[in-house]
């Protein structure tokens, strides 16, 4: 059995007595995985992370990190964890270096070199002596990440780490996460409300809605569960004619809007056949797009699922 770095057992928490914010949550984060914790806004992602780190006191259930109970091994566990929760905690009147120095003093045994190294990793070396209140949102996020990386954590917990970053920054963070994971075997727990982000980075995924876990497994498994049908969007110059041809091929189709239809197929091999048939009938094709079914699945899981 694979070793679990994060494990919760029937975790429960509520901010108020009227509503349960986290309900019987059983997280399973395997060692050396990149675990995507996915859910719409307000699903309980940040609350869960706060429970994992002991910022909130759980009402019932257990939190185990590195196989140990959090309450009894707080300092030992936190030594191996780097975390960035929501907006990074930074002292605006201090510089980037000073912020890192304070965090490294608390961690102890962190060399000056490591501070410059982390600044380099998050590409903030040029602003190291700038006051943090002059930083942009993206720069603050990077500095928050640098603080999380200071202690070479075995477990990196990132709460919506790409918030406020530009597209280049998002790609850089994605690469960094993969690098840390492949080179150092760092286990990464990353929360997001964007499926595309999780899909590209993660090996495992947990989907949460209203404080309940809806799905938890490897990303491949998630992909497999919905790969039976592919949905195509085809833009042509003639909807009705196209639909007649699609029907002849024993496929179902619906009109989405003017000159745009949606066709359901079983396998990708159908795509060239369909194009050949349409072209044979003098239909102009302007674009064909395979719809991201994972996105659909996520939406159906989190929206249609009445809990």
């Amino acid at each position: 059995m694979e070793k679990l770095i994060v494990k919760t057992e029937n975790l429960n928490f509520s901010y108020s007595s009227s509503k349960k914010d986290i309900e019987n949550l059983n997280l399973r984060v395997p060692k050396a995985s990149i675990y995507g914790f996915l859910g719409p806004n307000g699903a309980g992602k940040t609350t869960t992370i706060r429970l994992l780190l002991g910022l909130l006191r759980n009402h019932s259930g257990k939190v185990r990190l590195f196989g140990k109970s959090f309450t009894n091994n707080r300092i030992n566990i936190l030594n191996k964890v780097g975390a960035l929760i929501e907006n990074p905690s930074l002292y605006g009147h201090l510089t980037a270096i000073e912020n890192l120095t304070i965090a490294s003093n608390y961690r102890r045994n962190i060399s000056k070199n490591r501070i410059t190294e982390t600044l380099d990793i998050v590409k903030l070396t040029h602003s190291k002596n700038k006051k943090v209140k002059e930083f942009s949102l993206g720069m603050k996020q990077r500095l928050g990440l640098a603080i999380a990386l200071l202690g070479n954590p075995e477990l990196l917990i990132l709460d919506e780490p790409t918030n406020g970053l530009d597209p280049k920054g998002i790609i850089e963070i994605r690469q960094l996460i993969k690098e840390l994971n492949s080179q150092y075997g760092t286990t990464v727990f990353i929360s997001s409300h964007l499926l595309s982000e999780i899909e590209r980075t993660c090996t495992h995924v947990g989907i949460i809605k209203n404080g309940k876990m809806l799905f938890q497994n490897k990303v491949e498994v998630l992909k497999r569960t919905q790969s039976e049908n592919l949905e195509l969007e085809i833009e042509t110059n003639n909807n009705n004619h196209s639909m007649r041809i699609v029907k002849k091929l024993a496929l179902s189709s619906t009109i989405i809007e003017n000159n745009l239809i949606s066709v359901i197929i079983k396998q990708k091999a159908m795509i060239p056949k369909l194009i050949d048939e349409l072209r044979k009938n003098q239909i102009d094709i302007y674009q064909i797009k395979i719809k991201n079914n994972l996105e659909e699945l996520f939406l159906s899981l989190t929206e249609n699922n009445k809990i």
Binding site: R57, I75, S89, Y91, Y106
Partner: protein, 261 residues
Amino acid sequence: MNAINIYWTGTKNEFLKLKRTFAFWLTIISAFFIPAIYLIYYLLKYKSLLPSNNINPWDKFLNDQIMAVSSLLIPLFIVLITSLIAQLEHKSMGIKLLFTLPTPKWSIYYGKLTVVLSMIIFTYLMFFVMMLLTGSIAGMIHKELKLLTYFPNLGEPLKLLFRSFVSILGILGIQFWLSFKEKNFIIPLGVGMVLVITGLIIFQAQESIYFPYAYSRLSLFSLSQNIENLLWFPKVLIYSVGYFLFFSIFGFINISRMDIK
């Protein structure tokens, strides 16, 4: 890593955080404020302030100022400085980070409390030095004030300042806990100010010995009587230390169990 090392690191970090903050300047301004006013007062009204023969003019100069700050300004300073220093954390959402770092929570709470205490002691010392400095300046400008003829009796004002300092420990413990707990700094500030003023109103009642916000004023009692009999440690100071210990311990237990949202 032993406890002393952990405590020292926590305290050192709290000092680092003060860099370029207003909290540091507040201590300087507070220490300078009343001596500056007294300097102006002595320079403008020196004719009515000339000492009688064989009377050391410093006694009045120093004791009046300590009387002036003790009832209201020092308690308000405590309310302000605790809110200001705790606000450094709240503004940066620092507690969230600090409580996820591998350091015991007590090192953060007591490290910060140590810094606040040091700043208060620093303000007291600065205040004392400023009084001597402004007195000398006044004496230099108006020789007839005889402030340069006499050497100040330092024992009594030091004793008074010591009593004043111990008397505010009680409200320091309360205000520090409240400021650490409440993100909104209007709450500790508002509560503190109202209670300080309440203290001023009720200090003459016998029961005010149980009300820590009146202690700064109570610590001055017996001043009007024979100053030689001034105790270093009157009963009110024992109560103040008691409140301080209680709220420092209770406050920490409360904070360490608090949900950080």
